[in-house]
């Protein structure tokens, strides 16, 4: 007996021993919480499906934006600036101007179309080939096609570049189809805002769904929690299995949403390929990359953890042991 209650003083494990057992305890509680989910299969599967579908929607919208960006990259030439040079500009001056413009930070590429080349193209495209031969001299100016860098492709930056280029003394006139570009950008912004709004609402729903599921689990374990408190369990000890449950929900919900988005992209991929072939485009629908899938799962875990943390911090403190 005496070695059980040595002088009535409580023997405590050393701090080092407790630190060493901490990761083992965490592992046991994580596995134990997985076992708890396994023991309530219907609730678990339903919750995971709701989470998976909730996360699949913003992930699908993300894919839409990603693919739309890919398409818009192919339209970058839309922000190309056309510089019509003065008729008096010599070939040498034009070459000097090209060199100067190429040094601009916002310029990715400069293409020169000489007056002669322009006339040749005009003859072919306009159908006035024969008539144009009666002209005394070439009425078309030499032209520079300036492609801005990706950074300078947005409406405001492209407009600023146009103003700068138009000031060059060899330039007669500069042109940029800004209205079209502005509309495209406004549409892209609107879509991005809608995606963000919908994503935020769905993320909030994930937090609430997990929070409510954990709340019900806590209420189900009310008596056991009270007993644990009675024998000296801290709130953080009691919270841990519920937080791990939240993490599991996040992992499985995230994996399910990845599968759902991948299946959807695979299904739509065929239809989009057929459509793009009709437009002589080689556009291919892009699915989730490996890193995006991992990010989606990680994001799901964070959301589920936030939901479960809110729930445990609200409800576990409220449960107090009763001697009756």
């Amino acid at each position: 007996m005496s070695n059980i209650h040595s002088s009535g003083l409580k023997a405590r494990s050393s701090l080092l021993a407790r630190l060493l057992t901490l990761p083992i305890r965490h592992f046991q509680q994580a596995v134990g919480s997985l076992g708890n989910l396994w023991r309530t299969p219907f609730t678990t599967v339903m919750t995971i499906f709701v989470l998976g579908i909730s996360l699949a929607l913003p992930a699908t919208l993300h894919l839409f934006v990603k693919n739309a960006e890919q398409v818009s990259e192919q339209w970058d030439s839309a922000s190309q600036i056309t510089l019509f040079l003065k008729l008096s500009t010599s070939e040498k001056s034009a070459q000097n101007l090209i060199k100067r413009i190429s040094l601009y930070n916002d310029v990715a590429e400069v293409r020169y179309i000489s007056a002669k080349q322009a006339l040749k193209e005009f003859k072919i495209l306009s159908g006035f080939g024969q008539s144009l031969e009666y002209l005394d001299k070439n009425p078309l100016p030499a032209t520079l096609l300036v492609t801005p860098t990706q950074r300078a492709s947005q409406a405001q930056a492209a407009n600023a570049l146009l103003a700068k280029l138009s000031k060059e003394r060899e330039v007669e006139q500069g042109k940029l189809d800004l209205e079209w570009l502005t509309r495209l950008e406004a549409m892209a912004r609107l879509i991005e805002d809608i995606v963000l709004g919908v994503a935020l609402l769905l993320c909030l729903s994930v937090v609430l769904i997990v929070g409510n599921t954990i709340r019900l689990a806590i209420l189900n374990e009310r008596d056991a929690i009270a007993i644990m408190k009675l024998v000296g369990a801290t709130d953080s000890f009691i919270q841990r299995p519920f937080l791990y449950s939240g993490i599991w929900y996040g992992i499985f919900g995230g994996i399910l949403s990845c599968i759902a988005v991948t299946l959807l992209a695979w299904y739509l991929g065929y239809a989009i390929s057929d459509l793009s072939e009709l437009y002589q485009s080689n556009f291919q629908l892009q699915g989730l990359s490996g890193s995006e899938a991992l990010m989606l799962i990680g994001f799901a875990v964070v959301l589920a953890l936030v939901g479960s943390y809110i729930s445990v911090s609200q409800h576990i403190k409220a449960i107090e042991p009763n001697a009756d």
């Binding site: 007996m1 040595s6 009535g8 409580k10 494990s13 021993a17 407790r18 083992i24 009675l230 001697a323």
Partner: protein, 235 residues
Amino acid sequence: MINFNKVNKTYPGGFLALKQVSFSLESGEMAFLTGHSGAGKSTLLKLISLMEKPSSGSIQVNHTELSDIQYKQVPYVRRGIGMIFQSHNLLKDRTVFDNVALPLIIEGVSHSEIKKRVATALDKVHLSAKLKCYPHMLSGGEQQRVGIARAIVNKPPILLADEPTGNLDPKLSLDIISLFEEFNAAGVTVLIATHDLGLIARMKYRTLTLKEGTMINDGIVDGLQAQGRYDEQYS
């Protein structure tokens, strides 16, 4: 070890459960707490185990002042008190081993140490053979002994028992009380709340008697006194 100094406890609604209660229980002492239903026995135990806070007065347990204790400190104080209840308070979905091991798991004791200490505690209450049983597979007396094993497994300096023999026959009641005597002999402070005056009379330990929240007697009660007090209380 346990010091009450002019403790009052008023529940919401104005019910005065304890009035100016003062007593001191020294380290290694064993005592009974008695009184009729509603006298304040359970309230007194709840105050010691921090399930309730006093309305006024001072309570010291293991040299810790409980009246102004922080919420975060409560679990650590409870680890120094073994608690036993009439309703056993066992986790129904866990085995006897898991139930008894719970205080040690909470403290972060290593698995090998847990196995050793649970085996020793179950041996003390003669339940070594029931290690893998679930509570519903045990009799009332066995469940009570599991509760006792859980209360002593982390070697607390104080044991509190609220009607530990309430649902047991006289023979089992004596077995349970003799277990408490064993722990007390090893230096544990034991406080047992009971209204079984026959049991108190047989044991001849210090007895704290409560009536309507007031401490009316503090001393050893013999058989005749016990009978007299029984008549007084229940007539």
